[in-house]
Amino acid sequence: MTRFSRASSNPSPETNPAPPRLKSDEGPAMRIIVPLQGVVQGRGGLVLGSLLPCALFYFLQLYLKSRNRPSQSPPSSPPTTLSTPDDHHASPSSPPSASGSTIHRTLSRGLLSPRSHPNVSSRAAAVARPDEDSLYYVGYKKCLRDPFHRVDNPEGIIQLGLAENRLSQDLILDWLEKNAYGALLGGDKPGELNIMGLTTYLPFDGSDNFKNAVAGFMGQVLQESVLFDPSQIVLTSGATPAMEILSFCLADPGNAFLVPSPYYPGWDRDIKWRTGVELVPVPCRSTDNFNISIPALERAYTQAKKRGLKIRAVLIANPTNPTGHVLSRDTLIDLLDFVTEKNIHLISDEVFAGSIHGESKFVSVAEVLESEGIDKTRVHIVYGLSKDLPLPGFRVGVIHSYNETVIAASAKLARFSSVSAPTQQLLTVMLSDKQFISNYLEANRQRMRRMYLLFVDALKQVGIECANSEAGFYCWADMSRYITSYSEKGEKKLWEKLLTVAKVNVTPGLSCHCIEPGWFRCCFTTLTEEDIPLVVERMKRVTQGPK
């Protein structure tokens, strides 16, 4: 941990050229003075100009050196879940130690450390920084170190911060056990092995068979209200790269997307990181049931324009995350009108389209396009198999676009993020088993509904109300009455209390850019019914405990 903090504390590494190399037999003093002369430029006289900064620099190095003690992280526990988790948890072991003959150089390196190491890019430095300010990841990490287990660790942290669905994975596993071997290795004759088709290069954006199967599945999820054309699909290793690739195609570095908030915290990393695209949150309000407001989008667009920020798209999730709403047809039409008027794109992240537990029928933006006769080339859908099917480890994401250039570019960019061949093969068979899929979707829906009701009711018992949600793996809980000061700071304090006292990891609204303090996203799909009373007990520690 401390080693990378050394690298990332480099001041703007991309602008400081590497200093002239110093020979290792020169005295320590020279190593300090020579690089500094360029900085100081002899101002304040040679004595003051050299000695004072030297002294300061020397003390700075000593301070840095004293901070950089090697740390041993605990060995990683079996990985449990995937989202965009942080990595503190299993830090690499320290590199093999230098042999005796290089002790002298190691010492000097301690004094000069930021300069004699090759730097990482500013992009890398930004992400190598410890994520202390991102509670979304901090909570996840803490949970990994002390995970709740009914038998082995009953006092551990209960994970309610990760949107994963374990409610129906048994159904998937059963199917796999019965069918997977045949699906993967079946040759033309029973018992014959033929892996040739698996091993060779496939098109980077997915094989035709797999595209057909995924397009068919997407249609099935929407109950055949839309027919998806496989040639308008690019497959990627997860929705995470799908979103990034789309961002690379729709915007240049320094451009921005308008994003109704609260929104999925992962986008801050996934979209902004390497593309250089900004995300401008457009707050939705509880008084409005957190619905998207076109006037708010208008205002945000105008303000951005004034700042000289070019907006290239509106990014929405439908169903929404973290609020769990299904967008109405009217809202979709309004959004389409808005982006048409501004001549920008609309990105609709529909990863939870098959995870509706409420009564509303899900309407995809694709469906609205069909009926409203709007220019389709500005509308792009992101989808994936990590939510509607519990297969996040298999890495399957989808870009669906009517824009030929976007599809062509995305297909090429997919080379960096392709779906593994055996996975394509296996899932082609699974997704083509329409009966199984239909049974799965229905069974899962019922289980989600049941768990949602139980969970919301449990929270109610401890005085926590949830906003009405109909989709997703989570509920959007209002805990504002339990925060001491109605502010970001107050929310953070409550979050910490929930983590350390109730030992429950939930996602605070501020990670989702919610402007109203006190809202928390709580996922219920990794729980079993037996866990619910325990959750109630834990929450009581905070809701009924001392403030």
């Binding site: 590199p95 060779t200 570019a409 090429k412 993020s417 593994s420």
Partner: protein
């Protein structure tokens, strides 16, 4: 009267509309020609034979045999195995067992001469992703990487497209069998400085693609000294390390680092993949091995965009950890590649074509300088077109690989059956005979 309605076009990014994907070069044009008219022994015997794709099909029967014989693996093949609760989920550390298996396999390839720590392995969906990831990590937009020529045409795209990083070639030529020299390194570095570009690293492929040669110890030492002196990173793309015909002839940068007590090792990053040695390009399994903690941490997080399917990891883990299997596989694969290489070189020599003396890889570096009408890139491309149109052979022109000497071509021989290879070689023979007569 038809009224043309002009619809305003929604603007796209520069990346989407640029041609930095580099796919306009003959390297890819040849592939397209193959796609349109692919050779098939029975249905299309006069079709284009693909000799421009470095794929290894000589040993996949060994993989099939393994899966057939190891019934317990068949259960794992469905991607489950192990703990049912965690079966379908994973995070970006990848499965511990799989990282260990990769480390073990990489050690086997190097004859046990080095040890790899599985915690330093970051998994990516292929070496393509690994190279791009490292470029994102060590360089900023506008910076430069030095890459010795001739190099894999895909680098133009993989290292530059989204990263915005420039490639400065380190030019090598046939006078010394295309080996990298200190002078060439210094020249390239000076060129970058003159153009006001910050050089952040050197990316080398060892064994080389397209040359098919393993780098020698003195050259590796020279390179390590160079990158240290210039305070830059070194990426050693060793994806063909298991395809060196004789294990003694491959020296990994890891060995040199170990000999030096890992001094300055934090500059060095190794890229590996199962696409070439194991002939599993479709599986999308690549890895970064870095001696630099900051790079490992960052690469791991950035690998979110390019994770390896957990099913695939589970499937391959037992096989790669099975030392009996891997020892035998590596040995057999090497022997078969060597046999093919010798066969191809001999047949070509018989009809008057010489190749660079190679000791690795899935291809040979063929010298067609004597056949050029003019010793220029144009001359080379004319010859390439002739070979594609008349011989119906897709081979890769050196200019696509940024070779400064016109007339060299990369010819892949491991991606087809021996029968198809014979057909291809006989086409060369007839071509050369015809030329002799005219």
């Amino acid at each position: 009267m038809v009224v043309k309605v002009y619809k305003p076009c929604v603007p796209l990014s520069a990346i989407a509309t640029s041609s930095t994907h580099g796919e306009d070069s003959p390297y890819f044009a040849g592939w397209r020609a193959y796609d349109e008219d692919p050779y098939d022994a029975t249905t299309n015997p006069s079709g284009v034979i693909q000799m421009g794709l470095a794929e290894n099909q000589v040993s996949f029967d060994l993989l099939e045999k393994y899966l057939e014989e190891h019934q317990e693996v068949s259960k794992l093949v469905n991607g489950i195995g192990g703990f049912r609760e965690n079966a379908l989920f994973q995070d970006y550390h990848g499965l511990n067992s799989f990282r260990k298996a990769m480390a073990s396999f990489m050690e086997e390839i190097r004859g046990g001469k080095v040890k790899f720590d599985s915690n330093r392995i970051v998994l990516t969906a292929g070496a393509t992703a690994a190279n791009e990831l490292l470029t994102f990590i060590i360089a900023n937009p506008g910076d430069a990487l030095l890459v010795p020529t001739p190099y894999y045409p895909g680098f133009d795209r993989d290292l530059r497209w989204r990263t915005g990083v420039n490639i400065i070639p380190v030019n090598c030529n046939s006078s010394n069998k295309f080996q990298i020299t200190k002078q060439a390194l210094e020249e390239a570095y000076a060129k970058a400085k003159k153009a006001d570009l910050q050089v952040k690293g050197l990316l080398m492929t060892n064994p080389s693609n397209p040359l098919g040669t393993a780098m020698t110890r003195p050259v590796l030492e020279e390179i390590l000294n160079f990158i240290s002196s210039k305070n830059m990173h070194l990426i050693s793309d060793e994806i063909y390390s298991g395809s060196v015909f004789s294990s003694e002839e491959f020296i990994s940068i890891a060995e040199i680092l170990e000999e030096r007590g890992y001094a300055d090792a934090q500059r060095v990053h190794i890229v590996y993949s199962l696409s070439k040695d194991l002939g599993l390009p479709g599986f999308r399994v690549g890895a970064i091995y870095s001696y630099n903690d900051a790079v490992v941490t960052t690469a791991r997080r950035m690998s979110s965009f390019t994770l390896v399917s957990s099913q695939t990891q589970k499937m391959l883990s037992p096989m790669l950890s099975d030392v009996t299997f891997t020892k035998n596989y590596i040995k057999t694969n090497r022997e078969r590649l060597k046999r093919r290489y010798n066969y191809v070189v001999e047949r070509l020599r018989e009809c008057g074509i010489e190749c660079l003396h190679g000791n690795a890889g899935l291809f040979c570096w063929m010298n067609l300088k004597p056949l050029l009408e003019e010793a220029t890139t144009d001359g080379e491309l004319k010859l390439w077109e002739t070979i594609l149109k008349d011989l119906k052979l897709d081979i890769s022109p050196g200019s696509s690989c940024h070779c400064t000497e016109p007339g060299w071509f990369r010819v892949c021989f491991a991606n087809m059956s021996i029968e198809t290879l014979d057909v291809a070689l006989s086409r060369f023979t007839s071509f050369m005979e015809k030329r002799r007569k005219t």
